[in-house]
């Protein structure tokens, strides 16, 4: 009896693996691409990073059931599925980045640096260097994403602890504060030394401002500049039903991508970007009526996307595995919306924006879909029904693309078969 059970379990496991490989782990991909479920249920995997040996590290939003918050995954037999998984760390967070043998990870208030050995194992799990500490975490937009520029600097997103910088946050009729005091310590990207220990706000500089919440950011090595994706503001129609209908709210404002040089400003909270008028419009909290333009000193986005889809990761593809059109283009992981209700939600996919000479070159397209687990083209109605929500992206040394999910903690590996 027992043997039969074990036999059946093995058969089912085998069927699972085979069907997983056949159905691309449930993902819909362009022709020639395949996907495997690299890992599953590791905990709420936010961002991921991969070493030159192909070892994957995931940062969890909260410690998982085993009490670990940084997970190390290795695929020793190279079959597309991690077979050696371990972890450490007790603090939740979002950011993780690897540069050579230096592994950076973030909590919601600081940045820590771990040393890796030749096998890409962590040398000092209990004693990382504290690079930055004391960053603002006020419940909202608290995650700290990071990237490095290759010139000794680390860029940290500090999200605004507010939706639209109202005197009373998310309170109908409450006015926008002028000037917005949130911008002094949040709502932008801060730049720090990537090696110096124990830095606080005063040791870094506010590199770019006017960004409500950036979760996806990447240093583009072709343009040698920082690119970010912003989460646009919520609830235009619930606060200003006379100016915006629920249908308009579902499409306003656009989610936006910017190239940010030092000192740049993207306009939050004073303006938002309207994808139909293709203009920066004054926020109603600051006297806007849905038409009045503003933000003369603020950047225009270099690309924009449907509202509320939550771009949680940005990655410029530098590998050689994917077809030529993907080279130096941008992959974006859209976590999926909630503020389009009562209309169906959008996002829950990985998009691609083609680039040429460091500028978007053509329309964005859906690259990988089906993370929500719904059949066909069915849209997510209620966010809790989405099986997986894309949150992190990383490129493997062989040019494969990895996507992490912060719902149950899946990691998908996407490769091109030729």
């Amino acid at each position: 009896m027992k043997n039969v059970k074990i036999f059946l379990a093995l058969v089912f496991a085998a069927i699972n693996i085979v069907s997983n490989a056949q159905n691309n782990a449930g993902l819909k991909l362009p022709a020639g691409f395949k996907a495997s479920l690299f890992a599953d249920t590791i905990g709420s995997a936010r961002h991921i990073a991969i070493t030159s040996n192909g070892v994957v590290f995931a940062k969890l939003m909260y410690p998982n059931k085993a009490g670990k918050s940084i997970i190390r995954l290795e695929d020793k037999n190279n079959d597309g599925v991690a077979d050696k998984i371990s972890g450490w760390g007790k603090y939740g967070g979002t950011g993780i980045f690897v540069k050579g043998k230096s592994l950076y990870a973030t909590s919601n208030t600081g940045v820590f640096l771990y040393q890796l050995n030749d096998q890409d194992e962590v040398v000092d799990p209990l004693g990382p260097k504290t690079i930055v500490e004391g960053l603002i975490d006020r419940n909202q937009h608290e995650s700290k994403s990071i990237t490095l520029d290759g010139q000794g600097n680390i860029y940290v997103n500090i999200g605004a602890y507010s939706n639209a910088c109202q005197e009373k946050d998310r309170m109908p009729g409450s006015k926008g504060m002028m000037p917005c005091p949130v911008l002094d310590s949040a709502g932008g990207i801060w730049k720090f030394d990537s090696q110096k220990e124990n830095q606080v706000y005063g040791d870094g500089i506010r590199y770019a401002t006017g960004l409500r919440n950036v979760v996806g950011l990447d240093w583009n090595t072709q343009t040698n500049s920082l690119f970010v994706t912003q989460h646009g503001r919520d609830q235009l129609s619930s606060f200003y039903p006379k100016l915006y209908t629920a249908d308009q709210n579902a499409e306003l404002p656009a989610e936006t991508m910017y190239e940010m040089k030092q000192g740049d400003n993207a306009g939050w909270p004073y303006v938002y970007f309207d994808p139909y008028q293709k203009k920066k419009i004054v926020s109603p909290e600051y006297g806007g009526d849905g038409i009045k333009e503003g933000g003369e000193n603020a950047l225009d986005p270099i690309a924009f996307f449907p509202a509320h889809m939550a771009p949680n990761a940005l990655l410029f593809y530098t590998g050689n595995q994917f077809p030529e059109k993907y080279k130096n283009g941008a992959f974006i992981a859209f976590h999926g919306s909630w503020n389009r209700a009562p209309l169906p939600q959008e996002g829950y996919f990985v998009a691609f924006v083609p680039f040429k000479n460091g500028k978007p070159n053509g329309e964005w397209e859906i690259f990988a879909n089906g993370f929500s687990g719904l059949t066909g083209d069915e849209k997510v109605k209620n966010p809790r029904n989405a099986k997986a929500r894309p949150c992190g992206l990383a490129q493997g040394p062989d040019g494969s693309l990895y996507v992490s999910d912060d719902n149950k903690g899946a990691i998908f590996k996407i490769s091109y078969a030729k």
Binding site: S44, M61, Y62, N139, Q140, H141, E142, N163, K168, D169, R170, M171, P172, Q235, S238, W338, N339, A341, P342, K381, N382, P383, R384, N385, R389, D406, N407
Partner: protein
């Protein structure tokens, strides 16, 4: 059971039905749709890690009505564990809602989706509100 007792029970039940009718729950649903659905969603399921679920939430179907009234009136952003999870959004306050509105709203969220708790009367909301 005597005829009289049955009669008394029927009258009592009728009394409750009069306090919180299906019509009141429909009114509560209307308020939910204009003020709460945006965050807590049509299925009451909330948004993972962002907006707490109301469907299946032990506090929502629980007995601490004063706490529920306070949350609706004053808003909520305390980042405490709710059934083991944390939520990182700030809930809007509703200082303008009347006791009867809050009663209808609570009756709706306590009896909708998979929730099967008791309905709430305006008198209960008033009593809870004065507790502070």
């Amino acid at each position: 059971m005597s005829y009289n007792k049955v009669l008394i029970i029927i009258i009592l039940m009728g009394g409750f039905a009069f306090n919180v009718s299906a019509q009141d729950i429909t009114k509560g649903k209307k308020i939910y749709e204009t003020r709460c659905l945006v965050c807590h969603q049509a299925d009451g399921g909330g948004v993972p890690n962002m907006n707490a679920p109301l469907d299946g939430a032990s506090n929502v179907v629980g007995t601490d009505i004063a706490r529920l009234v306070r949350i609706i009136k004053k808003g909520y952003s305390e980042r405490v564990a709710l059934d083991g999870f944390y939520y990182s959004n700030a809930m809007t306050a509703n200082p303008d809602l009347k006791d009867a509105d809050i009663a209808n709203l609570l009756s709706y969220i306590r009896t909708s989706w998979s929730n099967k708790a008791s309905t709430i009367t305006a008198a209960q909301v008033k009593a809870a509100g004065s507790k502070k």
